[in-house]
């Protein structure tokens, strides 16, 4: 089974890094295959950017996302640009402080987290992407939290490992709670 994932936002949010950690967790610690591709403009900051990750049990030949099953949007521009291309049975994950939802489509399930605000509460806005990663992990189950944490630890500078792991936990916990609520709602 192939899972197609797109992480999107603007340059400077750590979007590519987030995709990188998902890919790394998958291919080094979950023993599956993951291919990460990225697109960005010439500007280092502020322009729309996205990371595409394919996750699969089998070797990945064609390396690109065609119809993502999971879209993470961390900016309005990214949401507007990429959400029309999300699988109608897919999962949409947003930072709800940064993205205002438009009309829902198909059976898309939407999950929201104020990842940037939560990161700011930790005193480090820069880890918003890792809060989001924790949330993503809890919601989608595409990667195991153990693999994710290992990948976080060896993808950030030593002195920032603790901060990033706390950010991950924060997002992960938030995700578990959201999931509980949505289960209850279904019942």
């Amino acid at each position: 089974m192939m899972t197609e994932i797109r992480i999107s936002g603007y340059g400077g949010q750590g979007i590519i890094r987030c995709g990188y950690i998902i890919g790394k967790a998958t291919s080094l610690y979950d023993n599956k295959y993951a291919t990460l591709t990225q697109s960005f403009g010439p500007e280092a900051r502020g322009s729309a950017c996205s990371a595409q990750v394919l996750v699969s049990e089998d070797k990945i030949l064609y390396p690109y996302v065609t119809l993502p099953h999971i879209l993470v949007a961390m900016s309005q521009e990214a949401y507007t640009k990429f959400s029309p291309n999300l699988d109608l049975n897919g999962i949409l994950i947003i930072d709800d402080d940064l993205v205002t939802l438009q009309e829902a489509r198909g059976n898309i399930k939407t999950y929201a987290i104020p990842s940037t605000r939560l990161a700011e509460e930790m005193g480090a806005k820069i880890v918003a992407n890792i809060v989001m990663l924790g949330f993503f992990t809890a919601i989608t189950g595409v990667i195991t939290p153990e693999a994710a944490k290992k990948a976080v630890s060896d993808s950030v500078p030593q002195r920032l490992v603790d901060l990033n792991l706390r950010a991950f936990e924060k997002g992960f916990k938030f995700g578990q709670e959201v999931k509980e609520v949505s289960k209850v709602e279904k019942v």
Binding site: Y20, A34, T35, L36, P42, Y62, P63, Y64
Partner: protein
């Protein structure tokens, strides 16, 4: 000889093609990199700048690509395994001194992470339109070797292979990546150093009195020395004799240039490196390389599902071109489909190699993004007719 364990980052990593190529260079024993920043190849030199001081080696950021390539040729004669890294516009600037490397028979490696062109073109987006330039870009007649990896893992091995071939044949070897492969991140497994075989420099055992720097044996590749060994040799970009001295005659030209050409052409069969799948009973063979080879897969799978016998042939070494292989297939199949991110470059070689025995259909793309698999599928259907 085996790789030096201190330079080999043994283990499983999650790397893009650029970083993997850098690790390949280190494993291959590269000790000198001169380069000038240019998207999308810069990550290679960035990694070398970070890694060299921890394992031994010199990275210098030169003032331009003319200087980078010249420095690489100088470093090769100084005894280093040397490399430069660039993309389109920089590759153009390197052409003159790639010719110098051919003429001086300086073993060296040039990585070109291809982007869309011509001119400044598409700095952050892919292209595969420097393939003919790789072969013919410098003036005069010469032969060299060019590889084209299609994954980060292969970027690692291709760079090692490039160094080995450059030492074996004493030519510049080009690693023709593309932006997609350079910026694609996948698992890269780097083995133990003793699993990596290196081709050592062909240093002479002759004394300075006996040694002639451009005299060769059967394989037409001369033995080398490095500056400072006490041989007091002369090396020039001019047409020269076995002593390395300039000789401005057609006879000297014939002797030298023919040898420079033949030292590769004689070993063309040894230099065939392709990945083949289901070509044995194929009606159609898709020929591709780099990222385009991976983009071809869904089209091939779709056509196979419909009962078309499609083979897959990927050029890992693009130059010298595996013409014998293509000719053999041409006699058995209904047609070739060539998928490349340009308006027709390697397809010309495929057409030439078929000698009219079968048809050849090009699926072109101007660069900036990859082919639609659907376009490739249509070409396969057409070729199968």
């Amino acid at each position: 000889m085996k790789a030096d364990p201190k330079r080999v980052l043994t283990g499983a990593h999650y790397l893009d093609g650029d970083h993997a190529a850098a690790e390949g260079a280190l494993a291959a024993g590269c000790t000198f990199v001169a380069g000038y920043p240019i998207t999308p190849s810069t990550e290679v030199v960035e990694r070398m700048a970070e890694r060299f001081p921890r394992v031994g080696g010199v990275f210098i950021q030169m003032e331009d690509e003319l200087g980078s390539m010249a420095a690489v040729v100088g470093a090769a004669w100084g005894g280093s395994k040397a490399m430069t890294v660039t993309s389109g516009p920089g590759f153009s600037l390197m052409m003159e001194n790639i010719g110098l490397a051919c003429m001086m028979e300086a073993p060296c490696v040039v990585v070109n992470v291809q982007r869309g062109g011509p001119s400044t073109g598409l700095p952050t987006l892919p292209g595969q339109a420097d393939m003919m330039q790789a072969k013919w870009g410098s003036h005069g007649d010469y032969e060299l070797i060019a590889l084209s990896p299609n994954s980060p893992q292969e970027c690692f091995w291709a760079t090692i292979k490039a160094f080995n071939l450059s030492e074996r044949f004493r030519v510049p070897v080009l690693v023709m990546m593309d932006e997609c492969v350079g910026h694609m991140t996948e698992k890269v497994v780097i083995p133990e150093a003793d699993q990596i075989e290196l081709y050592p420099r062909r240093y002479t055992k002759l004394s300075p009195e006996e040694y002639l720097p451009f005299k060769t044996g059967k394989d037409l590749v001369p033995e080398m020395i490095k500056a400072g060994d006490g041989y007091k040799i002369h090396v020039t970009g001019l047409t020269h004799d076995e002593r390395g001295y300039p000789v401005m005659t057609w006879e000297a030209q014939e002797k030298l240039v023919r040898r420079l050409i033949e030292k590769i052409r004689l070993f063309k069969d040894e230099l065939v490196d392709v990945e083949e799948e289901q070509t044995d009973n194929a009606d159609v063979v898709v020929v591709s390389y780099g990222i385009s080879s991976r983009v071809s897969i869904p089209a091939i799978q779709k056509a196979r599902k419909e009962g078309i016998k499609v083979g897959y042939l990927r050029l890992i070494i693009a130059w010298p071109f595996p013409e014998k292989k293509i000719y053999e297939l041409a006699q058995k199949i209904k047609g070739f489909v060539v998928v490349e991110m340009n308006y027709g470059q390697m397809v010309l070689e495929v057409e030439r190699a078929t000698k009219g025995k079968t048809k050849t259909i090009l699926v072109p793309h101007g660069g900036g993004w990859v082919h639609e698999p659907e376009d490739i599928y249509k070409a396969i259907k057409e070729a199968a007719k």
